[in-house]
Subunit: 234 residues, 2 copies
DNA sequence: ACGTATAAGCTAATAGGTATAGCCTCGCAC
DNA sequence: GTGCGAGGCTATACCTATTAGCTTATACGT
């Protein structure tokens, strides 16, 4: 019998298709094999198992998402960049729900390749926020807010969580606008501060820490060789 | 041999424990049965199968979450209520990750019981936002923003997505404060409007629709008996 | 108290999924 | 052309869900 001529890459590509069609949790080797014209055990010649396949899928998906971010933010800054990143990501997630789901997975901290893919997303998101001139922890808080809002909206939407007839696109517009606006006054005033309306120096100690050496050090890549906190986020 | 004396309720309660311990996706009947002192097939006398069990789990979890919202918002309003709801939910989700995950599931639109549980969450969240005096689509957009932000943060945190050493509690404080603040100027200005700085009447057509009959009708529960859009939302 | 219907438990068997072992052979390198 | 490694296969084992059909504890009516 002629060989199917599979490669790891081919297997992962088909797995992406399947994941997009039936959802990441329903991606099985059993479903994948016939689509590639082989029997199930043959897949083990190319991927080490279902877990390894999921890992490869995640890495590729994270790279794609980083790309989506990068293209959206290219040539834009501030609110424009944020808005573009949010819309582009939602559109990509709609077209590729399985891949999007794969981007959420937290990497094993010792897995350099997947950690790198995660970091690419973080770095590009941070770059997209550059115009807001945030630094240190404030910048991290902001990307976390960005990722959380975006992910929450997309995953609820994909889960069918927005059941009311009200227009979901409209809601997304509002969320996007709110987020882009929020970053212009970041960090936000806390409730206590809003009520007490005192001078910002006194009432917003968080600002003091903004560019502190400690905060900057925490961000820097210069850490011990086997850092217990390899740099990954969101 | 003596009977184990199971009930559906007992099974679901133990399932909650398991889900909290090992994660909702890892909840299996096989793991559950020995913990209840019976063989796997015996569980079918009390629940119709793993899917039915998940459904029951979701319903209970949604009721619990609605309760968490209600308790948090009780006696508070506006930013205070929003803040309290967010913190309480995150704390509950941390203590009960499996149950929290179960709240995300979208109900089958024909499943009255689960739809009702979902609606309870929505209603209480809307009530928590009452002080902001939003109406019609604006109110729906706001709860969606609330749920999306909250869910995004919690699910990323639970997935281990916040790998950087930066303090996650601090980030959550910021996100919370930003959200509570955002609702005071809802709907947010779009990027175009912020740039063009014209009068709000002209530049913010969305406000015109706020209390329109159409918008109100869309929200109302008065719909045809077998409504294609039973009232549910994130 | 007793007898019985029913519900609650059991064993056994089936159907899918993951994974490993071990064989067979295509097809490239030389 | 031949040798051999990579890529495919069958067979098998194990895990989870589910169904069928049996047994018996126990609640309840008399």
């Amino acid at each position: 019998m002629p060989r199917a001529g599979l490669t790891t890459q081919r297997v992962v590509e088909e797995a992406e298709q399947v994941a997009d069609e039936v959802g990441l949790p329903n991606l099985t080797l059993a479903a994948l094999a016939p689509r590639l014209g082989v029997r199930m055990p043959s897949l083990y010649k190319h991927v080490a198992g279902i877990d390894a396949l999921r890992r490869l899928l995640s890495i590729r998906a994270k790279q794609e998402l980083a790309d989506v971010f990068a293209r959206a933010a290219a040539g834009r800054a501030g609110a424009q960049a944020v808005t573009a990143m949010l819309y582009a990501t939602r559109a990509w997630a709609k077209a590729h729900p399985g891949r999007y789901a794969a981007t959420v997975r937290a990497p094993d901290p010792t897995d350099d390749e997947e950690v790198a893919a995660s970091n690419a997303i973080l770095d590009i998101a941070l770059a997209g926020l550059a115009e807001y001139r945030l630094a240190g922890d404030d910048a991290i808080d902001a990307v976390r807010a960005l990722r959380a809002t975006l992910h929450g909206f997309i995953s609820l939407e994909q889960a069918g969580g927005f059941g009311l007839p009200n227009d979901v696109d409209r809601s997304f517009d509002r969320v996007t606008a709110a987020l882009a606006e929020t970053f212009t006054a970041w960090p936000p005033k806390t409730e206590r501060e809003r009520v007490a309306k005192v001078s910002s120096t006194l009432s917003r100690p968080s600002r003091r820490d903004r560019n502190s050496p400690a905060a900057t050090a925490r961000r820097s890549g210069a850490r011990a060789a086997r850092d217990p906190h390899p740099r990954t986020d969101g």
